[in-house]
Symmetry: C2
């Protein structure tokens, strides 16, 4: 096994030396992008050239300065605008673009990749702005075009989606002949000492949580009311936490890729306080995603203007910035896959998980654990591509590739994993 | 007593006939202004000429149309702008202006009254926009100027402040030699069938409720945390409701005008749901009254603009409009004064109150009970002035005038009162 890995690890290095690949363009300058940029910079043997671009160049400059690497370049880009992206891609000529902007922008960035011959990676699937709904169909529709262009697109390469799919692929490869049930369990037992704050973009977070629940059973998708199904689940080093069944995008690709799965669910923990806040935010209309016409004084003092405001986007401006939560964030996250299935004719269970300390994440990158657990796998995904290990024309989910080198990097890059065999899965 | 009243009631009629007074200008077109305009129109013997003005003339036109009186005139005015007000007052030449706009605008309207020789009435005392704080000092400072100009200003002539002061004056005049304790109790036992809505302007309502509590005891003002002190109080025809001690403006003038008072408090009921919502609204920062810079697309589609938005004002735009609550509003309000003191050397208690049905109020004016209980007394106050009964140069609170004709009108104009002598005050 060790020898096998050594041979495997020599091969991509050779490819890299021959092709001098390693040019990455990061789009975004939020918490996840910050972590990814830190980790990219920590791996200069793979990432030989780094550019960070976002709507506000000053944010990129600040991030480059925080990393302290004078070779990092920065740029301004409007990721909603394909032409703007094409111009940037043609200037930077990256091998791969890491899309760590908003899920609304997945399609414009994919279009720009096709127009400029750039490979693609993201961490969350596309959703339209005017509808809180996500599914892979919009992005899977690009499969043929990426294939024809000889370009690789890696979808959903954060933690969940991302590591959750890699864990499942690893379980399927090494520990199961058939997977029968898959429960992805996501616990944030951190305390940020704020009355209310979301751990990532509040707009995206609240859209996701206020959606109806969805899970897969015996070949069918079953819809629930938002957060209708819940139960306590015990998390390692944390203890029992009430966990709520939610729709989560990786279920869609995983049940497709592992057709033996009979039951697939996603669970996330929420505190009572968080749910109370969420309930009220909906009750007062501040989670609305339609536009309201509102008259307000212009900031430059030249009079009043009628503007269109999406309440949820305005709420984002008022809530604490998730990027500012890190300093006082205590506790840890615990995310994993609880799997039941058959190996050599016998039923078995398998639980693979990572626990991540908010404080450790903050010390390393200035960001809390939720950004960290998403940004590190994004970097590893780009690394897998640049090493030639996850390189295949088309549009792919993470479980479409070999999980082993990714799992190896998780241990090296700050997200070590643990396994429990034949334990009580609780779910 | 009856003969006395008859003589009194003939006197102002004579004055009116001689001077042809009766021209009223209502500023505002919200719930309270709507009720006041309906009631003003119901009393054409007193109000011979009616103009309604607000920032949006269309609202005034709609209101005039709802009342169905073709003689009602409407106008546009920016009540923040003294010059604009002066222009309007000079055109309309009202005998009295009823200020039913926002408390922020009390001082600009008073200034315009002084510049144009118009008498003044309002229902809520001035507060600055940038500080959630109310006290009479700002308006009392105008006393000498109104006196010198020979003009009457009647402050706080809604229900509370307003009827609460008239009740107290009536109690002092007829039932007590000394008032020792005064508890104003305000219960809204209505149900509007919305997750959350305020009964009047949400901005003003939330500013008021999130303030620190304040009560008067033995010559001193004692501050409490917001809603810190509470107890159940039983309301007639309603039952016990948890009631919270709040600062309320009429306490300031009443303890000054009745120096025998040792303890003066104001209590208001809130449901658990309402308080939960309030707690979250504060927690997420949406009750903030400072300005946030926010970039948003212009409504006319010509690009983006940076505007300054006060979160609480934006929340107002998202919350249900209090004016739209009436249709499905059930239940009633109950507001009164519970008084303890001495009459003829003996201790006694006195409770005087009104119960108002939201549905009855809606049927008559299209507005719910909270608007009704404020708008009717405002009309009666203007009527008292025009009849010459409450006419005295200077700036006055309602208890500075004779309560008897006002109390008589309350019974006639839809807010009949009830008395309980020597009952258990509970407080």
């Amino acid at each position: 096994m060790i020898i096998e890995n050594k041979i495997l690890s020599l091969f991509p290095k050779l490819i890299k030396i021959l092709t001098k690949m390693g040019k990455v363009l990061i789009i975004g300058a939020g918490g996840v992008a910050t972590v990814a940029a830190f980790k990219v910079a920590q791996n200069p043997d793979v990432f030989t050239d780094i550019t960070i671009a976002s709507r506000t160049k000053a944010k990129c400059d600040k991030l480059a300065k925080a990393i302290g690497n004078p070779n990092i370049k920065t740029a301004q880009v409007d990721a909603d605008n394909v032409d703007d992206l094409v111009k940037l891609f043609n200037e930077v000529k990256p091998d791969i673009v890491m899309n760590l902007a908003l899920p609304y922008q997945d399609l414009t960035i994919m279009e720009a990749c096709l127009k400029t011959g750039v490979n693609y990676l993201d961490t969350a699937n596309y959703e339209p702005r005017d509808e809180a709904h996500f599914e892979y169909s919009w992005q899977w529709a690009y499969k043929q075009r990426f294939e024809d262009a000889g370009l690789t697109a890696i979808l959903g390469c954060g933690f969940d989606p991302g590591v959750s799919g890699v864990y499942t692929a690893y379980a399927a490869k090494h520990h199961f002949d058939e997977i029968h049930t898959l429960d992805i369990v996501d616990c944030n037992a951190g305390n940020h000492h704020k009355a209310f704050a979301t751990n990532f973009n509040p707009e995206i977070n609240i859209r996701e949580i206020t959606q109806k629940g969805l899970y897969y059973k015996d070949g069918e998708w079953i819809e629930t009311e938002p957060l209708e199904i819940h139960q306590p689940i015990t998390y390692p080093n944390i203890g029992p936490r009430e966990s709520y069944l939610m729709h989560h995008e990786e279920l869609e690709s995983l049940v497709k890729n592992y057709p033996t799965i009979k039951l697939a669910r996603f669970w996330m923990t929420f505190g009572e306080q968080y749910l109370k806040y969420l309930d009220v935010i909906q009750g007062i209309g501040m989670s609305r995603i339609d536009e309201i016409e509102y008259e307000a004084p212009l900031a430059d003092g030249t009079g009043n203007a009628k503007v269109k405001i999406v309440p949820l986007q305005f709420l984002k401006a008022v809530l604490p910035n998730p990027q500012d939560l890190g300093e006082n964030y205590e506790g840890e996250t615990s995310i994993g896959c609880r799997i039941r299935g058959i190996k050599d004719g016998k039923e078995r269970t398998y639980y693979v998980y990572n626990n991540c300390s908010h404080q450790e994440a903050y010390k390393e990158t200035g960001m809390q654990g939720v950004s960290y657990t998403t940004g590190v796998p994004a970097m590893i995904g780009a690394m897998m591509f640049l090493k030639g290990l996850w390189k295949r024309p088309g549009v792919w989910n993470v479980e479409d590739f070999d999980p082993d080198p990714f799992m190896e990097q998780l241990n090296k890059q700050g997200l070590p994993w643990n396994e429990v065999f034949d334990g009580d899965l609780e779910v």
